[in-house]
């Protein structure tokens, strides 16, 4: 089970609202490579994962992704304080505002709501760990794209932290891949699926 800790994993303190940037960064909450999908992916995959090392990695990274949802949500929250209707119309945030006001809702930058189609739990150790490594790289690219578009140091700082976590998680899932392969037949990693075959 889980218990909530009343603190962020990394501090967020944004002084200047920027609804256009909020709409882009929201994609890392509910978009195709966002933190909601990441948490759901790892916390779903761990049940049938046969190796304790990889169960630990999936559990602990999945839990950290929940903390990243909170950081992304905090960034969006602070970027959308005290906005006039004129600022909302001019920024392009109007299409979000009309449906959600300034509430936090998991959605991609394009406006597509969060979908479980953004992740897999395939029930195959090798397939899932490669999906996880790819997911970390996709999220890293998205954070790189956000950094290309952001100019406020208060926004850039926590985004750089989140970007670095994607790189670290990629490395740790690499450890998981090694554990999985060490447990399989080195002449044919695909000979059987350790999550299903006896």
């Amino acid at each position: 089970m889980w218990e909530y800790e009343k603190k962020l994993q990394y501090p967020v303190n944004i002084k200047r609202p920027n609804p256009a940037m909020a709409k882009l960064i929201m994609t890392q909450y509910g978009g195709p490579d966002g933190e909601a999908g990441a948490a759901m992916r790892y916390l779903s995959q761990r049940y049938t994962m046969p190796y304790k090392e990889v169960i630990g990695i999936l559990t602990d990274i999945g839990t950290e992704e929940l903390a990243h949802q909170e950081i992304v949500s905090t960034i969006v929250y602070q970027l959308t304080r005290n906005l006039s209707p004129e600022e909302i119309m001019a920024s392009g945030f109007d299409t979000y505002f009309v449906d959600h006001t300034v509430g936090i809702y998991p959605v991609a930058a394009s406006g597509v709501p969060f979908s479980a189609c953004a992740f897999q739990s395939k029930g195959d150790a090798i397939t899932d760990i490669f999906e996880d490594m790819a997911a970390e790289q996709k999220a890293r690219t998205t954070y790189d794209n956000i950094l290309r578009l952001a100019d406020d140091p208060d926004v850039i700082d926590p985004i750089r932290f989140l970007r670095q976590r994607e790189v670290t998680h990629f490395q740790r899932f690499g450890d998981g891949l090694r554990v999985i392969q060490d447990n399989l037949n080195s002449r044919n990693f695909y000979g059987y699926n350790p999550e299903y075959d006896p």
Partner: protein
């Protein structure tokens, strides 16, 4: 999981649930002194059971590891019952 561990774990789960219910109530009734006193009593009881469990059997959260090996990842995970094979 041996029966001694299972029994103490069940005791911990029970007191944790009592605390959780009290927390939910206190969230909506922060001024209720009787509920607050009840919470404090349950929390003190929980601390004792918790410490006994993690010392004797292993971690509830990763930071509890007291052993000389990384027992955090050891089987069983909570979704694994006695039919699961330890490896």
């Amino acid at each position: 999981m041996k029966s001694g561990q299972a029994k103490l774990l069940r005791k911990l789960m029970d007191v944790d649930f009592v605390i959780h219910e009290t927390v939910l109530y206190l969230d909506g009734h922060p001024g209720n002194q009787r509920a607050l006193e009840f919470y404090k009593k349950a929390a003190a009881e929980q601390k004792e059971i918790y410490n006994q469990y993690v010392t004797q059997y292993g971690p509830i959260v990763a930071e509890d590891v007291r052993q000389n090996s990384w027992t955090w990842i050891d089987f069983p995970w909570p979704w694994q019952n006695d039919k699961e094979v330890d490896n």
